[in-house]
């Protein structure tokens, strides 16, 4: 009965909820309920992030997706004529169901067949030892230290833990500086663009 057990249980339950919620989102006739289902899925995905040691991303997911995006979508829903029975199927429903399930199986096949450079799939003991034995820790001055771990038999601790907001921040302004600026540019242009669109509407 290790911590791993709880994590696994949580993972399976939450995955199940995610898939269930996703199905509800795409099948619900009531769009508002669909939107609420969507925010439920977002929260569950955030829990998955917490399980994956990505606390920062999980919190951002809640902050942006649940706090802003799904609220905005719920907002947009109120502009639909008949919310309760508004979400209709197109004529490609069956075809698309077939396409999507086919794509799903192709993706699963590929993910199973590909040899990921994964912690689980590394068979060379030496390589694994070289990796497993170290973990990353923030020092007091803020830089990242590499420490040799003494006991790392626990399954939970397997993996690369460079798990800090600080290192996400430092990679954002070093290796991903240009993407970051592009994102900023996209955000500002989206802001201006949506304002322009709304303004046109108000002029009429």
């Amino acid at each position: 009965m290790s911590g791993n057990f709880f994590i696994d249980i949580t993972f399976w339950v939450v995955s199940f909820l995610i898939i269930l919620g996703s199905f509800y989102v795409v099948t619900a006739r009531n769009i508002f309920r669909g939107a609420i289902g969507l925010s439920f899925v977002f929260i569950c995905v955030a829990i998955i992030f917490f399980l994956l040691n990505a606390e920062f991303l999980g919190v951002v997911q809640i902050l942006v997706y649940v706090g802003a995006v799904s609220v905005l979508i719920a907002f947009a829903v109120m502009f639909i004529k008949d919310v309760v029975d508004g979400s209709k199927y197109s004529k490609y429903r069956l075809l698309s169901a077939f396409l999507c399930s086919f794509l799903f199986f192709v993706l699963i096949f590929i993910s199973q067949v590909t040899e990921w450079n994964s912690m689980d799939s590394i068979e060379n003991e030496d390589a694994l030892a070289g990796l497993e034995g170290f973990y990353f820790e923030e020092s007091e001055s803020g830089s990242i230290l590499i420490k040799k771990a003494e006991v790392l038999s626990d399954g939970v601790n397997k993996g690369v833990f460079i798990n800090s907001t600080l290192s996400i921040g430092s990679s954002l302004i070093s290796n991903f500086l240009i993407p970051l600026q592009v994102i900023g540019f996209i955000l500002i242009s989206a802001l201006i663009g949506s304002l322009t669109i709304i303004r046109q509407r108000r002029k009429q």
């Binding site: 197109s90 490609y92 698309s96 396409l99 999507c100 192709v106 590929i110």
Partner: protein, 663 residues
């Protein structure tokens, strides 16, 4: 004190601080016509002036200061630095710029008193002064170019200061575009030099590089001619001169600052800055001197007939700048800068005096002035002294500087050599200068008062013409003290500066030719190209006599009426029209060059090409694509899902292909 470059930065920064404080804080907290802004600007510029004087003192006693260049930006191995170069030339320019600027700011307190945008005026003025000070202290050519353009922008803002007047806006645009036109040459020169060796952009390195074999005659010629284009634009020399008279639309104090002492002398400063390179190339020297000499009489001839006193002064400025260019062209480095120095002071005095005249009569038109001698004696005397100085009458400062230029022209005088032609042109220039200046003085101050702005408004209304907004009502009075004192200070310098800065023999405290010697300390001297001129009695007498003849002629025509031009002579009338229309230069640029040549000829050809040839290609190409498009549009059902499904199908096919390929 000047061991580090911080004090020099302080010189530039203090006007910038006043600009920021004026435009951000004072405008918000104290309103747009708060009087604090003027005092603040005067305070900051007097700090600059004080430090400039100190810098001149240090440079005089310790030689020039070369500070380390700091890295501005780099691209690979291509590095552009910035830094301060404090040599003799810079120190002199610093004193001239900050000194004249300080006096003009004091004058402006009275002159701009009733303007709504008082704070904006002072903000622009501080920014202008800062950029001009930055220009003269620049160590790197790129840095110099940045300040050069900043000077252009601020002059645009200042000329168009009364932006609600269409003529001012037009003049500002014209000034900006024409100087920009020359700046392309400057930019080309910088790029050319950088393509040869980026390190040469650093000016001290460039000075040292002229000895190297890499620095060929071709490089020097191309570079100096390219920079000459920039200088011609900024200093309003011959082909690009026509913006300066129009630029008189700005406030008179602005004209006094930027069209006498600072902005227009930037071109001269630039040529002086690259003097070691220009002196390597005979071709560019000849071009430079002929441009200068031609501009001298060309501009002076237009000043002969102009009725607007500010325009007379503007043409006079162009003409005097021609003298400086001429001097630089023949290698008279010291006299050119000396003339720049004296000219800055007496021309600023004249401009400020004309502002006082406008203050009193309400107009700039000489036809409506007259008889102001009794009403405003102080202005009269100061303008008279300024004009005498400009005409080159002994012992005023203009006499000394102009004679140095003439003497250096006379150095190796032989009949029909280029130098002799230049000399005669310069002598004719002296005559014309004294004539037009005294024509203006006599028309403005002697005789009966002819009604001023009030009368001019009436006349214009009678003719049904548009009344310019510069016209104001007459209130005959002497200018207030705050406007008189700066003029008097400038007049003081106009009298004494010439002799005491560059005396022809040793006097107590000041050695012989102190100014020229100071300048020559820095510039590497190449062969015979740089003269060290001595005072020549013959030249002094000749030029004085010619100047006095000019004054007498003006006196005879405009006061006594002994001589009068024949009224109906065909040639005289045509000549008058020609001069009045400024040799039709604006029309040539506008109608012939732009309209007839570019628009009607060159672009017509391209139009025909476009319509007959390119358009047909497009039409058939279009028809072809239309057919294909019609074929393809079958797939465009208009349903979003259909398109998305197609995309997904493509992705699935790709993925399957990858899977089948690999396994």
């Amino acid at each position: 004190m000047f061991d580090s470059d911080i004090p020099v930065y302080l010189i530039i920064l203090s006007p910038i601080i006043s600009f920021l404080v004026n435009s951000i804080f004072i405008r918000i907290f104290f309103g747009t016509n708060s009087k604090i802004s003027g005092l603040l600007t005067i305070f900051t510029i007097s700090i600059s002036f004080l430090f400039s004087l100190l810098a001149l003192y240090h440079v005089n006693s310790n030689g020039n200061y070369e500070y380390d260049s700091r890295l501005w930006f780099s691209y690979g191995s291509f590095e552009i630095g910035f830094g301060i170069l404090l040599d003799q030339l810079t120190a002199i320019m610093l004193v001239v710029v900050s000194g004249v600027s300080l006096l003009v700011q004091i004058y402006s307190i009275g002159y701009m008193k009733n303007d709504i945008s008082y704070v904006r005026y002072y903000a622009y003025m501080s920014l202008f002064t800062a950029s001009m000070l930055g220009l003269v202290t620049s160590r790197n050519l790129v840095q110099l170019f940045v300040f050069w353009e900043l000077v252009g922008v601020t002059s645009y803002l200042l000329i168009g200061f009364w932006m609600n007047r269409p003529s001012a806006a037009k003049a500002a645009k014209k000034a900006f575009l024409m100087t920009r036109f020359g700046d392309f040459g400057f930019l080309f020169g910088i790029m050319y030099l950088a393509s040869k060796n980026p390190e040469w952009l650093d000016i001290p390195t460039l000075y040292n590089a002229v000895h190297l074999p890499d620095f060929t005659h071709t490089v020097a010629t191309i570079f100096s001619i390219a920079l000459l284009a920039g200088a011609v634009g900024k200093s309003a020399q011959f082909p690009l001169h026509s913006w300066l008279p129009d630029a008189m639309e700005g406030p008179t104090s602005v004209s006094a600052l930027i069209h006498s002492a600072t902005m227009v002398t930037a071109g001269v400063f630039l040529i002086a800055r690259i003097f070691p390179i220009i002196s390597l190339s005979d071709e560019s020297q000849i071009i430079l001197s002929f441009i200068g000499a031609f501009t001298v009489i060309f501009a002076a001839s237009m000043a002969l007939v102009s009725n607007d006193i500010k325009r007379v002064l503007a043409y006079s400025t162009v003409s005097q700048l021609g003298y400086m260019m001429l001097a630089l062209g023949i290698g008279a480095y010291g006299p050119a800068i000396f003339h720049l120095l004296t000219h800055a002071f007496f021309k600023a005095a004249l401009f400020l005096g004309s502002g006082s005249l406008h203050h009193s009569t309400g107009t700039f038109n000489l036809k409506y002035m007259g008889g102001m001698k009794k009403i405003m004696p102080v202005t009269y005397w100061s303008m008279l002294i300024g004009s005498l100085s400009l005409a080159g009458i002994f012992p005023l400062s203009g006499f000394w500087s102009k004679d140095e230029i003439l003497s250096s022209l006379f150095n190796d005088f032989s009949f029909l050599s280029p130098n002799s032609i230049l000399f005669f042109l310069a002598i004719i220039g002296v005559f014309m200068t004294s004539f037009y200046m005294f024509r203006a003085i006599f028309l403005a101050f002697d005789g009966e008062f002819r009604g001023g702005g009030t009368q001019e408004k009436k006349d214009l209304k009678k003719k049904g013409l548009v009344i310019p907004e510069t016209l104001e009502d007459v209130h005959k009075s002497e200018a207030p003290k705050v406007m008189l004192i700066p003029v008097l200070i400038l007049v003081f310098f106009a009298i004494f500066l010439g002799f005491f800065v560059n005396p022809v023999f040793d006097i107590p405290l000041i050695s012989k030719h102190w100014f020229s010697n100071l300048l020559f300390q820095n510039v590497p001297v190449f062969g015979d190209n740089v003269h060290h001129t001595d005072f020549k009695f013959l030249i002094a007498i000749i030029s004085s006599i010619i100047a006095i003849i000019g004054i007498m002629l003006a006196w005879a025509i405009y006061i006594k009426g002994y001589v009068s031009l024949p009224k109906n002579s065909f040639i005289i009338n045509k000549l008058k029209i020609l001069l009045d229309k400024k040799y039709f230069f604006d029309e040539i640029y506008e109608d012939k060059l732009v309209n007839s040549f570019l628009y009607n000829r060159l672009f017509k050809i391209t139009e025909v090409l476009d319509l007959k040839f390119l358009d047909n290609i497009n039409i058939y190409l279009g028809k072809f694509t239309l057919k294909i498009g019609q074929l393809l549009s079958i797939g465009q059902t208009g349903y979003l899902q259909f398109y998305a499904g197609g995309m997904i199908l493509g992705v699935i096919i790709l993925l399957c292909g990858i899977v089948l390929w690999n396994f």
